[in-house]
């Protein structure tokens, strides 16, 4: 929000209502590692989708999961929990 000028009391929404969705707040730069999913090993159990604190892992139509790196904080829960160990945390460059 530092780039755009912050609104003042005359233009802010009334009632202190947040007017931005947090999908505009990218938390992808928080972590030092990111998960890499090996779809060859993936059993499509969907557990990583349910264990991701951010909701950054979505289940695609074909049943495989995909990580949204714009929000992934690199916590590593998905890699730690995957029953077939198809997710590896790799350090970011």
């Amino acid at each position: 929000m530092s780039e755009e000028k912050k609104r003042g009391w005359k233009t802010l929404p009334k009632g202190v209502v947040p007017y931005k969705s947090s999908k505009d707040y990218k938390t992808g730069d928080w972590g030092v590692a990111k998960p890499v999913i090996d779809h060859q090993k993936c059993s499509k159990c969907t557990l990583c989708h349910f264990f991701c604190p951010e909701g950054a892992i979505t289940v695609k139509a074909d049943g495989y999961t995909e990580v949204n790196e714009e929000y992934c904080k690199g916590c590593g829960v998905c890699a730690n929990e995957c029953p077939v160990k198809c997710i590896k945390m790799e350090m970011k460059k």
Binding site: M1, R7, V16, P18, Y19, K20, S21, S22, K23, D24, Y25, K26, T27, W30, G31, C45, T46, L47, H49, F50, F51, C52, P53, E54, G55, A56, V59, N68, E70, Y71, K73, G74, C75, G76, V77, A79, N80, E81, M89
Partner: protein, 324 residues
């Protein structure tokens, strides 16, 4: 309930979306995401002050895609009561903006601070009045948001910033308030413990809690990587161990003709049937920095014994109540 399956629920969009500012690996969002998957229709959420509330609503951003209210720390049950009364009144009068919905569910989220301690009165009152809402306790066993201070939900022996493990006193000297029993004693129609390590169980119990008329209570453990001091990737693993060691058994309790009827859930039932599969609490404690003083500089046998015994006693009592 056939629509509650991992495959089906994976398709459902999140009510709590990405971009929130909780710590990496925080269990609260894992639990909330799972709970919110199980809503059945229009839902209004109210939230007590705490980590979840603060980090998901930093102005001008919000991570909530459902109508959401936060007013103060100790009153989430009173807020929920007001919302539920509005829904009822508008339905009865047949006028007002919420009258158009056949049903609107109310869910209240609170931490252990807002439930065991400062929020206890409001919760007890709301249950006594019989409001139709679901209360979800996100129990990270201390006042985490303000810096890891002890709460009524902090377990025996745990180090917190107000019960540090020092030279004379070794962590919290009091036991964890038996909140489930207290809520059950109120005659609450449905009480259940949930654990994000078993997402399907969480979602099924949430749906049940929503569907049951009257006040319902879901108690979730919420391991905190910062406050319990373990690496963030272990959140689910530690949550699972809590149940596997019977520190946090999974069960449901309904009321039948004024009597509480307990039922152990699959993970805990398996242990009850095969007691040798119960893991000793050490495997749970040694992973967490808040119990470090149980093991360093030397093993504190007295503490370990006291904690193991109290866990065993509570587990035994639960098994008896569940008729196992």
């Amino acid at each position: 309930m056939s629509e509650i399956s991992l495959k089906e629920m994976a398709k459902k969009p999140d009510a709590l979306i990405c971009g929130g500012r909780l710590c990496a690996g925080c269990d609260e969002t894992i639990v909330v995401r799972q709970v919110m998957k199980a809503t059945r229709g229009p839902t209004i959420v109210t939230n007590a002050t705490g980590c979840l509330e603060v980090s998901t609503s930093i102005f001008p951003y919000t991570s909530w895609e459902v109508p959401w209210l936060h007013s103060a720390f100790e009153n989430v049950a009173a807020s929920a009561s007001g919302i539920e009364a509005t829904i009822k009144a508008m339905k009865k009068k047949g006028e007002g903006p919420l009258a158009k919905y056949p049903k609107v569910d109310v869910i209240a989220f609170a931490g252990d601070g807002g439930t065991y301690d400062i929020g206890f009165q409001a919760l007890s009152g709301a249950i006594e009045r019989g409001h139709d809402f679901t209360y979800v306790l996100l129990d990270n066993e201390a006042y985490m948001n303000t810096g890891i201070q002890r709460s009524g939900g902090t377990p025996f022996g745990a180090a917190t910033t107000t019960t540090p493990a020092g030279k004379v006193v070794f962590g919290k000297t009091e036991t964890k308030k038996p909140i489930d029993e207290i809520i059950i004693a109120h005659g609450t129609p449905y009480v259940a413990t949930i654990n994000s390590a078993w997402p399907l169980d969480v979602m099924k119990k949430t749906r049940k809690a929503i569907e049951v008329d009257g006040p319902t209570f879901l108690h979730s453990l919420a391991p905190c990587s910062r406050g319990w001091r373990f690496p963030p990737e272990k959140t689910i693993e530690i949550s699972r161990l809590a149940t596997q060691t019977c520190v946090f058994p999974l069960f449901e309790c309904t009321q039948e003709k004024g009597r509480p009827v307990y039922e152990l859930s699959a993970p805990s039932l398996a242990i009850a049937r095969k007691p040798e599969s119960k893991k000793p609490i050490e495997v749970y404690l040694e992973q967490q920095g808040r119990f470090r003083h149980f093991f360093r500089p030397t093993r504190n046998e007295a503490l370990l014994k006291e904690l193991q015994e109290s866990i065993d006693t509570r587990w035994q009592i639960l098994c008896e109540k569940a008729g196992v």
